[in-house]
Symmetry: C2
């Protein structure tokens, strides 16, 4: 049976430690880190995410300022971003994605000052990740995976990592992090995706599988090597009449069977997903320290 | 026997076409694209490279302005970059690497305006490559490889690409280009490096090998699958008493034997290496057009 990687526990530890740190920062500077959250439109999932982020900020002693609007022209949104870039009270800027149709996400992300880009999605930070792993901010979900790997002291040096999925928010950046000379990383990395022909063979030779394709219970036990490390990034809703909500949340991995073969596995929920907000808060505190001339 | 990919021929075609294009641009605007080349120090190889770049600019109707200094303080070099960023006569800025000790390469590259970064090494352009393949400029050697693949109509979609080496100038960016949804790309990509344990197995399953590790004739015939496509990025000098110079130039692939198994192979010299300057010139002309509000 695999060791279950407890994302909830590490997330809580990080958030509790950040509370101690922000209280100390407040004692020293009379200021608290502040995250600006921009939410355009009525996407219900986005509203739930933003509410969780606000709550988590509160827990960790971080101020949150929310800018929630039903509708916005692109020029208005651009002006808002530029204003937040200038505002010394704002340390981090998060634009909740997806933006409604008609708003150009890439153009908006490009406008965020990289030093306030706590989501780690700005091209400057993406480039620095690939060049030397020294961006101001790493993207939250991939860095959350790396925090879990460090916490459990799983050394991936020279290991075969197979990443399923090539998204900008998970697949590509986690490949970039695990590929490079970095403690616990330094792995041989293969990125597989929809066009990959012999996926099973890649999975079967993997020491580590990072599944980030959004297909419920896609990775089956027979494709997993004995003792593999399984990182499940999927968060999928599947219909379930036995659940009061009518659905249950499942990952990209068939947990029940894969768990028996893996050495380590992240559950869904309570694994990688729990880490994303914790890293967002870490990034916001880092932003505060950089912007206030403190050593991170 | 493999088809030998002729980098000299494509490079010449591109450079000749650029001449026609820059002449037309001159007729239209009374201006020519201009590349600023900054060379600090006495590295003989760097002086040879810079001379070739100047010559190639001349061939393609591109002006080159060289700033060659024996010694420079970091602040002076920074001022020079900022001046070139501002100068409307300068379309592209190339800082010849490596810089002498005491000069921080990353800091200097960071200062170049991404819209003049014709080497494609700025983090903004690196980030854009990974996010959406729409940087202002792609790095020259990886893009030269992609130009060769297009020229020979080698469709890599769904193919197994194994990249040997994880450098910022070749290994990582070529992985990023070939991984993404892009004509002739869309491949499954594995990046191998010094820590990779079972390199032979990776090479044996590869439909395409991109060798960029700087080890003369490292890739042997017995590791190559019948019909594989071989892209050799190495440029190594090895002692050779039979040569008047006392050395010969060889790639990272044992060409004599591998050629018999491959379907396509790039020779050294005359393969990938010939493309790098051609792409630099392409980028400089693109820079001119962007900066003059023309559609690229």
């Amino acid at each position: 049976m695999a060791i279950i990687i407890d994302g909830n526990a590490l997330s809580k530890k990080i958030k509790d430690n950040l509370r101690v740190e922000t209280d100390a920062l407040f004692d020293k500077t009379n200021k608290r880190p502040c995250l600006a959250v921009v939410l355009v439109g009525e996407n219900p999932a986005s509203h739930i995410y933003v509410a969780s982020k606000e709550k988590a900020c509160h827990h960790s002693g971080i101020l949150s300022k929310s800018y929630k609007v039903e509708n916005m022209k692109e020029t208005e949104l651009e002006e808002l971003i530029l204003k937040l870039n200038q505002d010394p009270e704002i340390n981090g800027i998060l634009v909740q994605l997806p933006l409604p149709e008609g708003l150009n996400e890439e153009k908006i992300i490009d406008l965020i000052d990289p030093i306030k880009d706590v989501d780690g999605f700005h091209p400057y930070n993406t480039g620095k990740l690939w060049i030397n792993l020294k961006p101001y901010f790493f993207p939250c979900t991939p860095w959350g995976i790396y925090e879990l790997i460090k916490e459990y002291k799983i050394d991936l040096s020279g290991k075969e990592v197979v990443v399923l999925g090539r998204s900008n928010i998970v697949g590509k950046p986690i490949a970039g992090i695990l590929l490079q000379k970095f403690p616990y990383a330094d792995a041989t990395v293969t990125v597989c995706h929809s066009r990959t022909k012999n996926l099973e063979e890649h999975l079967k030779r993997a020491d580590v599988i990072v599944a980030a394709i959004g297909k419920p219970e896609f990775v089956k036990e027979e494709w997993v090597k004995q003792g593999a490390v399984i990182i499940d990034v999927g968060i999928n809703r599947v219909a379930d009449e036995t659940s009061p909500k009518g659905y249950r949340v499942t990952g990209d991995v068939d947990f029940q069977t894969v768990e028996k073969k893996a050495s380590y596995i992240t559950p869904v929920p309570g694994g990688v997903g729990a880490m994303t907000i914790a890293v967002l808060l870490q990034n916001t505190v880092k932003a505060f320290k950089i912007q206030n001339g403190m050593k991170d």
